[in-house]
């Protein structure tokens, strides 16, 4: 069959033989596609590790009273679960894996602007992960502060906080360099004819993300260094006994860590936009509105950190201003959801697995977004602050939003990345199971939180037992579904090149090259003559 192909096919980036062989052909490669896969494999590994920790936590909460572990073990477990999932899986998220793979291809370039820096970012990522791991398994035990490292407890606890905090600092550095690389790539490497408003919307969302990575991460970087200095040099920046102010720590921490939520979710929204447009077989509705809403989210997201601190003792004015700004973020988010819906309207929708994943994303993200308004409003937040309600909301946004979008993107671009197609029927069934499991796991937490069950406790009052049991059962369903998803992807079968080059009828540049792409992506740099989603171009 391959011989019948009209175009000449180059060896793919997976088969390409450079000057290195074996594992060195991967860890010394500066090819953005190989680096993307390095990121993706490490992220999925950390995701599974975090998943196992989550399962143990749910198992502990299956019934009131101690089940498997001591309170201290539970404290360590939720801390390391948070560190792993946030810093090692979802902050690099879709940007480091799919962004790395797709940015150069979607803008018609051969690689990112700084390929060596790109590889260096991955090294830093792994270094940070190793430092955190050493912190977990050495010294006086894994940290028990929660992933937020709130002072003054993070200064007082005997556990191994310094290494975890320093690991997070190194990971931040990696994130900054990736963001920097992407901004320069998007500015400098676009193919002739590809103006900013001809870029696919996934690229726009990554552009907004890259700016957040660049402008927010240094603040938390220096804050983490101050915590390290407080512990090692006894300075007392955040120690009230030495004049420090713990609330200042919270400000500095959330100045980064709230925008970090948008680092997680923006590329997810971008990938969903691509998927919905492709499977609706229509031009995207409101291209400029979606592009600008990405930048608006990035910008407004920078100004809302105070909503994490409504009960920390800020002034009434500050709380109201932060609450108001928080509501503002809902506007660009809603613009996206409405535009997705409008894109589907009267479209010729093909119900392929990536599209179902995108639907699951929208449904779950809506619940997460609307419950976010409950937390963003000062009066209701005080009732549910630090309860399971927050945990539920957070997981609906970050796992149900960004995490599901990660798998949606994986199903969408899998044929492009590997030249293989998974079993679509299994993919759909696994998604349905995941959807049921996810909601069984997290929906009860909203009610538990509303009824007053605090988060981060390994035990609870008897009246919370039924809902907690339901939630634990949900965790089993969800984990099983995730295993099916991954096995199904691993068992994908090689398709003919004609089928794999553009299995979905996509219209952005990545679907115009061979699957898997050649080392150089394009043998000739394409000239772009139209808007990204125009149907006539096919």
């Amino acid at each position: 069959m391959t011989g019948n192909s009209t175009t000449h096919r180059e060896p793919s980036y997976l088969d390409y033989q450079g000057k290195y062989t074996g594992i060195r052909a991967w860890i010394l490669s500066t090819d953005h596609k190989r680096i993307a896969l390095l990121y993706m494999y490490s992220q999925i590994f950390f995701f599974l590790a975090g998943l196992v920790m989550g399962l143990f936590m749910k198992l502990e909460l299956i019934a009131p009273g101690p089940q498997l572990m001591e309170a201290q073990t539970y404290n360590a477990l939720f801390t390391v679960h948070g560190l792993t999932m946030i810093f090692l899986f979802i902050i690099p998220g879709l940007a480091a894996s799919f962004g790395n793979f797709m940015i150069p291809i979607m803008i018609g370039a051969k690689d990112v602007a700084f390929p060596k820096l790109n590889l260096f970012s991955w090294y830093l990522f792994i270094l940070g992960a190793v430092i955190i791991l050493i912190g977990v398994f050495s010294g006086d035990g894994p940290p028990d502060t929660g992933w937020t490292f709130y002072a003054p407890y993070s200064l007082k606890t005997n556990t191994n906080v310094v290494l975890s905090v320093f690991g997070a600092f190194v990971l931040g550095f990696s994130s900054i360099l990736t963001g920097l690389n992407f901004i320069v790539t998007i500015h400098q490497m676009r193919a002739p004819g590809m103006g900013f408003f001809r870029m696919p919307l996934f690229i726009w969302s990554l552009y907004g993300t890259a700016w957040i990575q660049l402008l927010a991460t240094p603040v938390v970087g220096i804050t983490f260094l101050m915590v390290v200095a407080d512990r090692m040099l006894d300075i007392g920046f955040f120690d009230p006994a030495k004049g420090g102010d713990p609330v200042l720590y919270q400000h500095l921490f959330w100045i980064y860590s709230h925008p970090a939520v948008y680092i997680m979710i923006l590329p997810a929204m971008g990938a969903i936009t691509e998927i919905i447009t492709t499977f609706s077989h229509r031009t995207v509705f409101g291209y400029k509105a979606i592009a600008m809403s990405s930048l608006a989210i990035a910008f407004v997201g920078y100004l809302v950190w105070g909503h994490h601190m409504f009960t920390s003792g800020m002034s009434e004015t500050a709380r109201l201003v932060f609450s108001f700004l928080t509501f503002l973020v809902a506007i660009p988010s809603a613009i996206k959801v409405f535009n997705w819906t409008a894109t589907m309207y009267k479209g010729s929708i093909s119900l392929e697995p990536p599209f179902w994943w995108a639907m699951a994303f929208i449904f779950i993200f809506m619940i997460g977004g609307l419950t976010g308004l409950v937390l963003g409003s000062v009066s209701t937040d005080i009732h549910v602050h630090d309860t399971m309600f927050v945990v539920a909301h957070f997981h609906y946004i970050v796992f149900g939003g960004a995490g599901i979008a990660f798998f949606a993107a994986l199903h969408y671009w899998y044929p492009k990345m590997f030249g293989k197609m998974y079993n679509k029927k299994v993919a759909n069934r696994a998604l349905l199971m995941l959807f049921i499991g996810f909601n069984t796991l997290y929906l009860p937490m909203f009610f538990l939180g509303y009824m007053g069950m605090p988060r981060r406790y390994y035990d609870y009052l008897p009246q919370f037992a039924n809902l907690n049991l339901l939630s634990t059962v949900g965790s089993w369903i969800m984990a099983t579904a995730l295993i099916i998803v991954i096995v199904n992807l691993l068992r994908a079968k090689k398709g003919t090149p004609e089928e794999m080059d553009d299995p979905w009828g996509g219209r952005t540049l990545e679907w115009k090259i061979q699957s898997p792409p050649s080392l150089e992506n394009f043998e000739e740099i394409p000239v772009v003559e139209h808007e990204p989603y125009e149907l006539t171009s096919k």
Binding site: D111, I176, H187, Q188, V219, L233, I235
Partner: protein, 205 residues
């Protein structure tokens, strides 16, 4: 924008590397920005203690170091012009002078810190812990911020050192000044941060 069709990694775009350097400088400014916020908050809370504590610092050494960094910023700027004009020998001399000035800065810093530590003023010392909270915060910030700045001096020196070698062997030349320009930019940043640190710690009124 040129694309090299034969060799995958050999892509050279001076505009891109300069843009990258500027973005990196933004992140450095934000890194120190976090510290300036912390400084402002604590100085606002302890104005009197900060004023009294600053009198312990040696304005003369601070001033000398300020002049040293300003001159080194000038020499590095001159080295860029020299390379653009194709004068390799002068470029090398000017980079060497910059490196020398940076080393003098660090030596001064060493004696300054040494004197403080000799007087038992360092983070966590018993003497410092017996002082007021404002004093502890002032000296904590002083050591942390000037220390972080000194690390940046060392990084800048390493960068200029690499540039020196590359100018010497000709990889950085009249037609390819990017690396020197970017090292120069970084050096100006290091200088600029000191311009803020000097009045904040030495010249409080």
């Amino acid at each position: 924008m040129e694309q090299n069709h034969t060799e995958h990694t050999d892509h050279f775009d001076p505009v891109a590397s300069k843009l990258g350097m500027w973005l990196f400088i933004f992140t450095e400014i934000l890194l120190f920005g976090g510290l300036f916020i912390v400084y402002s908050v604590y100085r606002f809370k302890h104005p009197v203690e900060f004023h009294l504590a600053h009198q312990e610092l040696d304005v003369t050494i601070g001033l000398i170091n300020t002049i040293i960094l300003l001159v080194s910023s000038m020499t590095v700027a001159m080295s860029i012009t020299a390379l653009q004009l194709g004068n390799k020998k002068l470029t090398l001399i000017l980079i060497a002078v910059t490196l020398l000035l940076a080393a003098v800065f660090l030596v001064n810093k060493y004696f300054e810190w040494g004197a403080k530590i000799h007087h038992d003023i360092y983070p966590g010392s018993e003497f410092l812990l017996s002082l007021s909270k404002g004093d502890m915060l002032f000296f904590g910030l002083y050591f942390f911020m000037t220390g972080l700045h000194a690390i940046h001096i060392i990084v800048g020196m390493a960068l200029l050192g690499v540039t020196y070698v590359k100018v010497n062997n000709g990889t950085v030349n009249q037609n390819r000044v990017s690396l020197l320009e970017n090292s120069g930019l970084y050096w100006h940043l290091v200088d600029l941060i000191w311009i803020f640190l000097f009045p904040l710690f030495y010249l409080i009124h």
